[in-house]
Amino acid sequence: MQNSKLQSKIQNLTELTLTETLKGLEDKAFSEKELNEAYFEKITILNPKINAFLTISEDLQKNPRGIPAAIKDSILTKNIKTTAGSKILSNFIPPYNATVINKLEEQGVSVLGKTNCDEFTMGSSGENSAFGPTKNPWNLEKVPGGSSSGSAAAVAADLCTFALGTDTGGSIRMPASLCGIVGLKPSYGRVSRYGAIAMASSFDQIGPITKTVGDARLVLEWICGPDGFDSNCASSKFKVQSSKLRNDLKGLKIGLPKEYFGKGLDKGVEKVVREAIKKLEELGAEIVEVSLPHTEYGIAAYYILVPSEISSNYARFDGIRYGGTRVDFGEEVKRRIMLGTYSLSSGYYDDYYAKAAKVRTLIKQDFEKVFEKVDVIVGPVSPTTAWNLGEKAQDPLTMYLSDVYTITANLAGIPGLSLPCGFVDGLPVGLQILGKYMDEETILNVGEVYEQATEWRKEKPKL
């Protein structure tokens, strides 16, 4: 009798959103200790099935406190092992916190544990981790998406109040979509990258992975703002003015890029996304068909520019000051380092890197032109729902093509939100909302209006 009551309490506490958790603590409905213990209990039972966490905080287990958050293992946490999903960092203990961690701790957040990810955040499925793939909580034979695979799975399985991920080409939005939860890639320059292990420095952003859009907005407020360590982190701090929050979408213009609904998009996913768009219309939005003509070149531009930046950033792993030797890099990491080294080497620089950087300008301009006519752009996040583990792992190019709808936001630097909008055969589908540079406010608001008018977040995976 007591056991089932306890089970029920654990279940209830872990199902709370961040916002509900804060309210519950304020109302003294439960204590921080009970909250943390509930999550630890659940992790003990479920983590072996899904492999979301690589490390659980021993310190927090001994002294449960704060609002427990799961942190992607490519983000530095002082004195807590940080591996970035790589063998070469398997024993790395950071001597300092990433800025975002300090900011979260100031708000009373505690680091519950470090989540699994594709090695050095290079991947779209979670299968490139040196510590085994994370499984999708909705179907354990399927990928959770990557590279923030563990963070997304942890939020979907209610193993934390919220999580942090990073997004360079879709690594927050893709797993959020495949795991049926919310993921936000802020505008480039919104959140300091200090302490996030760099992948491609002109693309990387840290962002929230949460149970609701409101939670994502709150976490963004907490983590954003300049710290003097990221030269590109601009001076504008994000704070939502509640007076500007809308209850419906009247007067809002939503752009639908025709290139995002063409070949390659799974019919089932298209149907669900179009139904979501109809809902947006019901809520008062005006739908406008637009064109982003350089969409088809996005992947090619991305997979030259990003590996080039990677080849430069990864020179630091010399195995002298920390970490293992370069021979222990995984395949995807080696592939990208070599691709980048080749693209940047003399004789090829103009043909590859400079050319891709010019195409990047054209893609950025495509968005700027469209945003003169509409407030947000909406479409799918992923061309398909979660695929089987191992299905795309053999052919790198096939894996890269799944990023078609997400990489453009990173190329242009604009913010992108993924939120649940339905299911195909029991697997989640994410709706993507893209906004103007530094306009997280509008995309979050549109997301929240849609979320409140629908019931998708009430569905939970049966684990």
Binding site: Y96, N232, Y322, I337, M338
Partner: protein, 96 residues
């Protein structure tokens, strides 16, 4: 664009990535395929287009020339595979 095993060997050396001959073969196939795909960028007219290397457009972001707290020597050496007398041990550069 076909990348030969020899070219892969050269690139791997530039990138300081030790590869076995089998790996050189495997990567030459995979990289050739990827490079073949990205070559479609040649179809795009980029005459009169400036490259974008940084979407924020920021340049030369400076701070005051003041010393601020940083890692202690002990913290910096925390993860060193080999250390001696408070320093990182590395291979000699000038050795015969």
């Amino acid at each position: 664009m076909k990348l030969t095993s020899d070219q892969v060997k050269k690139v791997a050396k530039l990138a300081n990535l030790p590869l076995t001959p089998q790996e050189e073969e495997k990567y030459s196939e995979q990289l050739s395929k990827i490079l073949g795909y990205v070559e479609q960028l040649n179809q795009v007219d980029t005459s009169n287009v400036e490259p974008t290397f940084n979407v924020t457009g920021l340049n030369n972001v400076m701070r005051e020339d003041e010393a601020i707290p940083s890692l202690s020597q002990q913290e910096a050496l925390l993860n060193a595979p080999q250390k001696k007398e408070g320093m990182f041990v590395t291979k000699g550069v000038f050795e015969e």
